[in-house]
Subunit: 428 residues, 4 copies
Amino acid sequence: MSNSIHPLVPAAVAGASRREELVRALVRGDLRFHELPKDLPAEEAAEIRRRAVERMTETQLDNIAYHSLDVQRASKRNCENFIGVAQIPMGVVGPLRVRGRAADGDFYVPLATTEAALVASTNRGCAAITQAGGAVVRVEDVGMTRAPVFRTSGIQQTQQFLQWIEDHHEDLKRVAEGTSNHLRLLEVRPYTFGTTVFLRFRFDSGDAMGMNMATIACDRAVNDLIEPATGVPCVALSGNYCVDKKPASINFQEGRGKRIYAEILLEAPILHHQLKTNARDLVEVQYRKNLLGSIAAGSMGFNAHYANVLAAFFIATGQDPAHVVGGSMGVTCIESRGPDSVFASIYLPDVPLGAVGGGTTLETQSEALAMLGVSPDPDRPGEAATRLAEILGAVVLAGELSLMAAFTSQDLARAHQKLSRGVEAPRS
Amino acid sequence: MSNSIHPLVPAAVAGASRREELVRALVRGDLRFHELPKDLPAEEAAEIRRRAVERMTETQLDNIAYHSLDVQRASKRNCENFIGVAQIPMGVVGPLRVRGRAADGDFYVPLATTEAALVASTNRGCAAITQAGGAVVRVEDVGMTRAPVFRTSGIQQTQQFLQWIEDHHEDLKRVAEGTSNHLRLLEVRPYTFGTTVFLRFRFDSGDAMGMNMATIACDRAVNDLIEPATGVPCVALSGNYCVDKKPASINFQEGRGKRIYAEILLEAPILHHQLKTNARDLVEVQYRKNLLGSIAAGSMGFNAHYANVLAAFFIATGQDPAHVVGGSMGVTCIESRGPDSVFASIYLPDVPLGAVGGGTTLETQSEALAMLGVSPDPDRPGEAATRLAEILGAVVLAGELSLMAAFTSQDLARAHQKLSRGVEAPRS
Amino acid sequence: MSNSIHPLVPAAVAGASRREELVRALVRGDLRFHELPKDLPAEEAAEIRRRAVERMTETQLDNIAYHSLDVQRASKRNCENFIGVAQIPMGVVGPLRVRGRAADGDFYVPLATTEAALVASTNRGCAAITQAGGAVVRVEDVGMTRAPVFRTSGIQQTQQFLQWIEDHHEDLKRVAEGTSNHLRLLEVRPYTFGTTVFLRFRFDSGDAMGMNMATIACDRAVNDLIEPATGVPCVALSGNYCVDKKPASINFQEGRGKRIYAEILLEAPILHHQLKTNARDLVEVQYRKNLLGSIAAGSMGFNAHYANVLAAFFIATGQDPAHVVGGSMGVTCIESRGPDSVFASIYLPDVPLGAVGGGTTLETQSEALAMLGVSPDPDRPGEAATRLAEILGAVVLAGELSLMAAFTSQDLARAHQKLSRGVEAPRS
Amino acid sequence: MSNSIHPLVPAAVAGASRREELVRALVRGDLRFHELPKDLPAEEAAEIRRRAVERMTETQLDNIAYHSLDVQRASKRNCENFIGVAQIPMGVVGPLRVRGRAADGDFYVPLATTEAALVASTNRGCAAITQAGGAVVRVEDVGMTRAPVFRTSGIQQTQQFLQWIEDHHEDLKRVAEGTSNHLRLLEVRPYTFGTTVFLRFRFDSGDAMGMNMATIACDRAVNDLIEPATGVPCVALSGNYCVDKKPASINFQEGRGKRIYAEILLEAPILHHQLKTNARDLVEVQYRKNLLGSIAAGSMGFNAHYANVLAAFFIATGQDPAHVVGGSMGVTCIESRGPDSVFASIYLPDVPLGAVGGGTTLETQSEALAMLGVSPDPDRPGEAATRLAEILGAVVLAGELSLMAAFTSQDLARAHQKLSRGVEAPRS
């Protein structure tokens, strides 16, 4: 916690003069931000850094300093060279009825965003879904992947190498899983051409998103087992066939993290009153925008704005926001049913997600997860993360429905403009 | 600001009984979150919502309540159904020497992240760049795009329609630009097949990211001019040929927002001492990971982890984090020079970014922008956003260099594990 | 023409003993196929090679020898080391009513294929189109492209280089166009990152497909102008940003060669009687196969089988069959109209095509072009190629309609099996 | 065989008057091409059609008529509405040393093409490879795929359906394999979203390319088993998740038909004398063209011109030329070795290919296959097709090497121009 504003923080443990000396050393460049004395309490170090930055950049960082985090933990587990926080506005949507396996009931969902209209619009979608009986959601736990890349001397060595990998799956499993109680090796998928071999390890990582666990497990498998036994050198622990935080076909095809499906049948009254739209127009926007438009654009995302909802949900619940990249892929479908109803679905093949680790232990994020009733149970590993993913699926569906409906209304942007962003804007 | 903890906030303006009544109405579901009385002060409304949520979800949201935002503004301009904030840890990296046009000098860059090792690793890259004389950066202001989609009766009407659009470019320009003093229409790019026509409007939006401005301008052009004059109906103001927040070839080809280039020559001493690597290994990781690995994965991102750095920079500086999707595309190059040097570059074709609007006016984000000396000057529109983009380019380069170097070291993941995340982990 | 079988060929000009000597030299490996004496008549050389091959491979190549080509010309302009021909069965479809600009009327279209059912199926589509009044077709002559790739020292030199290119467009045009009377330079589109610059030259090449002309023109522009003036070295005359014969977004976006659009309205009687289908089923196959299926597959081709029809048309008319690659991209749309009609369209953005040069001058191909009334008129350059492309568009549409209709019928594959390939099979 | 020119054909069996009557009926449009009397001999029917076409299009088709095919067979098995042939010039390259499993030795390879320089250039590559000891080639028989698409009512039915498919793999195998002695079902890979399910059946089809066999087998499995048992309707036997003849990620990832790898080490003397190049320049062209250029273009083909060689090889040997589309995908690598050597490789993930069926039985194609020693042996199913694929791999490598080398030479296009296409031109 910051000293400057926060009233509950105890007096600084360092003397004012030592503090000033360290600030000056940072400002002069004699010290770098991460070179402050190890014995300095984390809060103290944060303030010294912040003061140095203020001096060097001639700014006041009072708001950045204003927070309620456990600095000791945050600066060790989440963010080095800690100086404070970015405060991201958090709104709530709901009730949202979710009919999943791990999440079955009504939820109030926190979304952290700086973009006007997103929360309001999503909330409208939640109302429609809830009134229609709730979104059916299923989540497939594909698992987290990491793909080291190796260099061979050519076809012959590659074939021997791949044969060795196939023959030693149980050994690889043993070594990899030895690095964590929460990790199970599910598959090693090879891909090769020329003198390059990728081995895409796929792990069940329980309630954790699992990227770091997967990396550590791969490192052990590579360094303790594969390299010594085969003599084939690993060029990099991540060879981009994983692939993390880049849009990619392999993840669209094979999935990564959680693969999420959600759907709802919306009948005329809900379309008309809740969403101010109708089946015919919705289906046409779906056709020309989500299908033909994305085809024209050469896109991997056949949807309206998965990324918006994901980003807000991820930031609120302590996920890695860079994983929005994979989450932006996927396909929305809206099909006509009967005279004036639609059957709508969303599909996201690549959503890395966790209920423990990463940002989930931070104070505000932890509260957000609590709002959703997400709390890992050691006896049912993976269930909390699945619950989180199921709720996410329903919120994404809500976001799609509301924005798609907005496109069918004539006065959208003008209303947006007049009401100073009080209504949803087409943001995708 | 929240009432519950914050000491500076004046006493609530609503009587306790009315407040309790409203909380109960929310809990019972008689009121929805956005239906609180309009006369209620924003802070009061936030607290009522939060208390209702606490009661319904049986949680305590004290940390979410703990913030220093102007609730009135944030709940109107950034986040409806406001209940508080997500606190995202912010660290600082630098000094980072940037040799751009609008940013020329040494910078201290705020990064907001929950993922351990990112700040430390990027900071190492900053040191290498600065010591090598600074990153050369150039930014091309491609402009913001929005592509309405139209339905015609077929080839003949499409051709007439496109001819009309071509003939009336000046009229379109006038109407579109009439919606804002900060907008200039640069191009209308058509794409068509079957009975569908996309018109991709591209705008210079000065220092704003411009998505909302572009939407409003398109709406005016479509509703006041195109539809009445041509009789061709617009199916949706956004037809996904824009394309916003989905990975897509059109943006890779044509660019969107800012197109960012940065580069640096790194000689042996810096490679060895700062980055603990060498030219040969770096070049090989580049080859097998960033090129071949991304090819194998069918990816649009030929880089190590642009998305990580972008997400942290975007959250710190008030950008739309969903735009990390576009920013994850692009190409890193690392080429051998002389006996043991490398020439490294990054390229990001699709980085929407702004120095005004959106999240930039929030208190902590505004301070972060101030740290970078980013403050819009009405006399030089666009320069502040360009400055921001140039600094971003240099930080992305720093992040790439450090992570790529980490891959070349043998004991990476194990060090990572031992030091409890004190050193950079391969996160991509 | 071959000597061995063909009765009209005059006696060989070489003595039998010299011939035998050369055959033996080839068989022994003392001579290579292209090293036969220059004074040897082409037909003689062909026979010597063929006999050598027969001897070395212990085969009889009587059918390969059986042809009516002018060997002198074919072996110089089309195929080195000439030994004979592959005979590809040619069928005819039609009458096919085409309502284009350069092709307006009924056509009988030659298709050369070895795959059963393709001609029969396409013919059925032709009947449907003709009966419905003819396919409306439009062709956009995008032009042929070639993109040399250059190496610079980095951002600064790249910017100077691109500025020079922009400033000297007229000079480039003059030099490039100086290589042929039939070439006009339309655009030079740059793309750059790192130390690499691509310049995508786009040319109008009249009735020629234009790849060789474009290459020669680029070579002149690069060697006589760009390299000497800028000092920036060209690494390869083709830098794959052209891009030729690889599926690629740039061609999907920008087009290449001819961009072809065709469409037709089909009412119930034609759907029922000609195509044995109905609107509802056709629209559903379109939706789940051409749209969702191609999305699922990560394909650039949102169609049923453009490539089949293109290959057959290309081989019959002397086009480069490797250009089927680009032609396989594109989007078919089939939309419901009224109670039981459909509006169907095809779109091919990347169809390189010519009415002169390449294989068009060969004897059988020339006859096939004559069947279509395609004969270049120097006074109307480009019109013959456009006519060819328009007819192609209509045939592709015919092929799509018939195959799509076949999918809607229940007993397709079984009929196929029973009738020994007498009915169309789903080949895509 | 045609009557009009060919001297060996017996007199027409139909009387001249009946023939003339049928020709007139075709010309008047009273008969369609496929409606000629069934009792008419195939050669007779071909001539009648041809004469009708000649009259209607006012052309002479003497060369198209000139061929040596068994018309009865060709018009039934390969091409309906038969009127004659396209003669495609065939050249020969070699000797080409191939070090595969099924093909181990020196080969003389037929290539049928109309594009000048291709054969000469490829022949140069063959010389380099042979002199360097031969190309190491390996072929993985991935198998032929066909993916019917189904419609369900949503998540729940989809899950039940997929469970049923999983539970009945043995039944599916039995039914599918019951349609042919040469077919083995290897895998059923599902992909699903919304209300759509794709089942990608993958088959070993021995020496056949297998597309028709796979279709028939799927039809049986769908109609006899899946639909009756599950009640889930199949919308189309091919749902484009197969995916045939469209460039697609699924095939790049999973492979299709044959997956081909070939490689060679080329030392300085061969680079200098055979290919007129050097290691440094070759590696740079590889880097900037095949890697960066294809990345810039958003291509799925990271090679110089696989499609050219494939098209020529496919046409010569009776393959389906539309399959060049899949074959255009893949990755060439050229890596520096030692002071002035390179290690070059090619990789093609998607090459459908057969040694029986389709065009392979045609007279000229059959001779071409014989040249390669490709003749199916019932006791070793698949070996002939593998042999063919191995030879193809080596020729593709030859084509890549020669063209890549040509790019490194300064006077390429000018030489090309001067020598009237006597030297290789950069055609990709």
